[in-house]
């Protein structure tokens, strides 16, 4: 129990996010109306994705310094969880865009950046599946993971800031900073970020445990 308190915290925070996120009053803004509540579900996905991808890169670096199969599995599962979070983030954003912008997808730097970052990580999965030798697969996918992180992060955090965007938080649109001023929303948003991030780590942990067990069973069968 001592090491699992954060899982309980994740459950509590996510329940709180779901209940308070749908019930606590929000500012009435034109066009956005109730869709502003998507802030609690869409934005934390990207926070969670960033943190879990950072964790994946750290595992990859540790793998290169000290190659063990466990670190490789942990890095792989963390990257997969990051991809899952990114896909959910794209989906929630797309649904939100349908109701506020009137279209599922639009040519916007933030949207395109996110989609391309998903492609970069999709290529990571393709790369992994094209090796037969396990050690080589682990080492080369760790190298690509670090390289991909270094090129994908500018897509999220640098390029969108250089261009105007339709996305909230840029180009004079009703901005993220403006919602932030609303204390009610802040009370739900920060716990939501922590909750979804913890959930990402939990997912990655469970997935790596399954993968490690599978590997153990496989080794036993061979023996």
């Amino acid at each position: 129990m001592k090491n699992n308190w954060w899982k309980a915290l994740a459950v509590v925070l996510l329940l709180y996010t779901a209940v308070a996120g749908l019930l606590v009053p929000v500012p009435r803004l034109a066009i956005l109306n109730e869709t502003i509540r998507n802030l609690y579900f869409h934005v934390p996905m990207w926070f969670g994705m960033t943190f879990i991808l950072i964790a994946s890169v750290i595992y990859s670096i540790r793998y290169l310094r000290n190659p063990t199969p466990e670190l490789d599995i942990r890095s792989h599962e963390a990257a997969r969880t990051g991809i899952l979070m990114g896909c959910v983030g794209l989906a929630t954003g797309s649904i939100w865009a349908k109701y506020t912008w009137g279209t599922w997808w639009t040519n916007d730097p933030k949207l395109n950046g996110a989609a391309i970052a998903m492609l970069i990580y999709g290529a990571y999965l393709v790369l992994r599946s094209s090796f037969t030798d396990e050690q080589q697969r682990a080492r080369i996918s760790a190298i690509y993971n670090i390289f991909a992180f270094a090129t994908a992060m500018p897509l999220f955090y640098i390029l969108p800031r250089l261009t105007d965007s339709l996305h909230p938080g840029a180009g004079g649109n009703p901005a993220f900073a403006k919602y932030d001023l609303d204390d009610n929303m802040r009370l739900v948003f920060y716990p939501a970020v922590i909750g979804w991030t913890l959930l990402a780590f939990w997912l990655a942990q469970v997935a790596s445990r399954i993968a490690l067990l599978k590997q153990k069973v496989y080794e036993k069968q061979l023996a």
Binding site: L127, R139, I146, F147, T151, P154, I158
Partner: protein, 222 residues
């Protein structure tokens, strides 16, 4: 010591390229025929291309040329010869020399391609120094990103598909900035308008080269 090794390796690469001129002329022909196919397909429309299309087409041609030209970097080296280098020089020298060599090669191909492209499809560039500086940054950027990718792809079984799958998304951030600066140069905007994009491009190039420098020693061991 490292610089001297890099210098020798670059010389070696150029000498090898010069000796087997088939590859070099093949790449030049590749650029030339791509440009010509584009010209022929647009000639139906009356010849003149709108400026944004000119720009996009130019960078797409360069992108495909770059992937094809860099892909053979590590693929063409035989296993034995690579082992031989590794006994002689540091891995960092190998990757740096390859990046510099690929950058120079791509720059040559890009300039040749641009010359032909301007001849057949017209030259709407209004700010030439900015455009050329952008092409140089593009060549260096493509080379630094693709060199490590080609090293990774060379280790896998289906390397030519992998090269495109891994390379294209990684080059998008760079490509977006390049196309933007290039559009500014085409419209004849002042240098100040593209300063921040150019600085970001330089920074991206530095990040990618630094990461390649750090990661290549691990790639080489396998």
């Amino acid at each position: 010591m490292l610089l001297r090794e890099i210098w020798y390796l670059i010389q070696k690469d150029f000498r090898l390229e010069w000796r087997q001129r088939a590859a070099l002329s093949g790449m030049l022909l590749y650029v030339g025929s791509t440009v010509f196919v584009c010209y022929l397909s647009f000639a139906l429309r009356g010849g003149e291309l709108p400026v944004p299309a000119w720009n996009a087409l130019f960078w797409i041609i360069l992108l495909f040329t770059a992937v094809n030209a860099v892909a053979k970097g590590f693929l063409q080296e035989s296993r034995g010869r690579l082992l031989y280098y590794y006994t002689l020089v540091q891995p960092q020298a190998v990757i740096m020399a390859k990046i510099v060599y690929n950058a120079l090669l791509l720059l040559g191909l890009a300039l040749a391609g641009f010359g032909l492209y301007a001849v057949v499809l017209g030259n709407p560039v209004q700010n030439m120094p900015l455009f050329l500086a952008n092409v140089v940054l593009g060549a260096v950027g493509f080379a630094s990103t693709l060199t490590l990718v080609s090293g990774i792809a060379a280790k896998a079984t289906n390397s030519s598909t992998l090269m495109a799958v891994l390379g294209f998304p990684l080059m998008v951030p760079m490509l977006l900035l390049l196309i933007k600066v290039s559009k500014n140069a085409l419209d004849g905007l002042e240098f100040d308008a593209s300063r921040s994009s150019l600085l970001t491009l330089v920074a991206l190039n530095l990040i990618v080269s630094a990461v390649s420098y750090l990661l290549f020693p691990f790639l080489w061991r396998s």
